[in-house]
């Protein structure tokens, strides 16, 4: 094989990557600028908050309760080998608030809300509704992207707060009714191990994840091309990229918040 072919292929892939990153960065700056400058659309912000927050509650709640339950069960299996069962409330409260609450809620919301955003905005793009917005003197960034970003950043922490409570409850239920823990001792241990800092770090993560979900949902929808197939591809990309970015940023956020 010609070595130049190899080089040009590598370069091509690299250039594509840089183009995509640049485009997303520009979109992000634009979106942020328009999300915080008037005119605002309170009606749309509330509508998005309901769609992201309220309608995600069943999914996030179910995820949280089963995660808390399995967490208690699994750590019991491990910890009973060296008689450290009493650490279960600690493990549950720490894992849920710091890690599993925000990440699992983020992933579930990415699947539910990120996909819906990409599909809705993508359809608006291919049916010229976004062009129509512009001709009606309305900035699509302010009208479509801004409310979704605001709703994503504010609703995810609230969802995660609820998920934390439900997750810890799940752990409590399994520990008390299946593993035979004393309910009072379990609750006291949970409360003693509970740290506001852990909770806060989880909520900061949640806000970042909410931003990522809304941003990628809007970005992929806004840039979708070519009819139904394009919208389908945009939806998939929105969910996949948001999920990956949630997991990547989770590591770096943990490092950042842990080192403090």
């Amino acid at each position: 094989m010609n070595p130049l072919t190899f080089l040009s292929t590598t370069g091509g892939v690299f250039m594509t990557f840089l183009t995509a990153t640049g485009r997303l960065s520009l979109f992000t700056f634009s979106a942020l600028y328009h999300a915080v400058t008037p005119p605002f659309y309170p009606r749309l912000i509330v509508q998005q908050m309901i769609s992201i927050g309220y309608f995600s509650l069943p999914v996030v709640g179910l995820t949280a309760i089963f995660t808390g339950m399995v967490l208690a069960l699994q750590s019991y299996t491990g910890f009973s080998r060296f008689s450290a069962e009493s650490a279960i409330p600690n493990v549950v409260v720490l894992s849920i608030t710091r890690e599993l609450g925000p990440v699992l809620a983020g992933l579930m919301v990415a699947g539910r809300v990120g996909a819906a955003m990409a599909a809705e905005i993508g359809t608006m793009r291919v049916t010229e509704q976004i062009d129509a917005l512009v001709t009606l003197s309305t900035n699509p960034f302010k009208y479509l992207v801004g409310p979704r970003l605001i709703a994503g950043v504010t609703m995810l922490p609230i969802l995660v707060l609820i998920a934390d409570v439900i997750g810890i409850l799940g752990g409590y239920l399994v520990s008390v009714y299946k593993l035979g823990f004393n309910p009072t001792t379990y609750l006291i241990n949970t409360w003693n191990f509970f740290e506001v800092e852990d909770l806060n770090s989880g909520l900061i993560k949640a806000a970042v994840f909410g931003f990522i979900i809304s941003l990628l949902g809007c970005y992929n929808g806004y840039n979708s091309r070519g009819g139904a197939q394009g919208v389908g591809a945009a939806t998939t990309t929105a969910v996949v990229t948001a999920s990956i970015l949630i997991l990547c940023s989770d590591y770096f956020l943990t490092e950042l918040l842990f080192s403090q």
Binding site: E120, T127, Q129, D131, A132, L133, V134, T135, L136, S137
Partner: protein, 258 residues
């Protein structure tokens, strides 16, 4: 036409997408209160032309004057001011399907002119009547309407703010001939009532003959013929002849592969 002031003046407009050159130097004038129809086959750059003038696309090169004001390279703020002079009827209607019909018509009144909702609704209902639809239609969702009704609502939305210039993208495409003619009549009436300037693109010759004062033909990214609608049958241009008679044989070769 020469003594009249131009509302739209396009000079040397170029636009390419990657290596594909779509517009290669378009020159076009539309006088105040005039209705100009641009005809041309699919993929000749009609839509791209109209989107450049509207400011939805950025020209690579050239000048677009609206009412004597250069719009190429305008700031976002000034663009917004110019945009308020425009109304646009999109090919597929492009109605917002999350809003009711009346909210669609009143959209610019509420969002851009900041009019109270009830006041805007009255105007929307008035426009709805102008395009021949019953008041009950105002409370429906766009998805519940037929194609012809969606076009009518789109027209009502385009004229709601009393724009100075109205753009029509294939206004009759996808409609049966009778509904097409109803839309043509509505366009003529609405434009005349508003005293607006109209720029339309179409490949429907019946519609072009009816709504146009002048016709321009676009081919391979350039305007190859312009003239009053009465001259279209003896334009002396073989491209125009082939197009208006819809013949497969002639100087225009249809690209079978895009």
């Amino acid at each position: 036409m020469t003594d009249k002031q131009n509302m739209i003046e396009v000079r040397g407009l170029h636009k390419a997408f990657g290596h594909k050159k779509v517009l290669t130097g378009v020159d076009l004038n539309v006088g105040v209160g005039e209705s100009l129809v641009v005809i041309g086959g699919s993929g000749t750059g009609k839509s791209v032309l109209i989107k450049n003038i509207l400011g939805l696309l950025k020209p690579d090169e050239g000048s677009i004057m609206i009412n004597g004001e250069e719009t190429v390279g305008m700031s976002a703020k000034e663009r917004l001011r110019i945009m308020k002079k425009f109304g646009m009827l999109f090919q597929g209607g492009a109605l917002f399907d999350s809003l009711k019909v009346w909210e669609n018509i009143a959209f610019a009144l509420i969002q851009s002119l900041r009019m109270p909702r009830m006041e805007a609704k009255d105007i929307a209902m008035e426009k709805l009547a102008m395009v021949g639809l019953d008041p009950e239609v105002g409370e429906l969702e766009p998805a519940e309407l037929s194609g012809g009704m969606q076009k009518r609502v789109g027209l009502a939305r385009a004229i709601a703010t009393q724009p100075e210039i109205i753009f029509f993208d294939e206004p009759t495409t996808g409609l049966d001939p009778i509904m097409g003619d109803v839309i043509n009549d509505l366009i003529i009436n609405c434009v005349r009532d508003l005293g607006a300037t109209a720029l339309s693109i179409t490949h429907d010759m019946a519609s072009a003959r009816k709504i146009a004062d002048r016709i321009a033909m676009i081919y391979e990214g350039k305007i190859i013929w312009v003239g009053p609608v009465a001259d279209i049958d003896n334009s002396g241009n073989e491209y125009v002849d082939q197009f208006i008679h819809g013949k497969a044989e002639g100087p225009i070769k249809m690209a079978v592969r895009g």
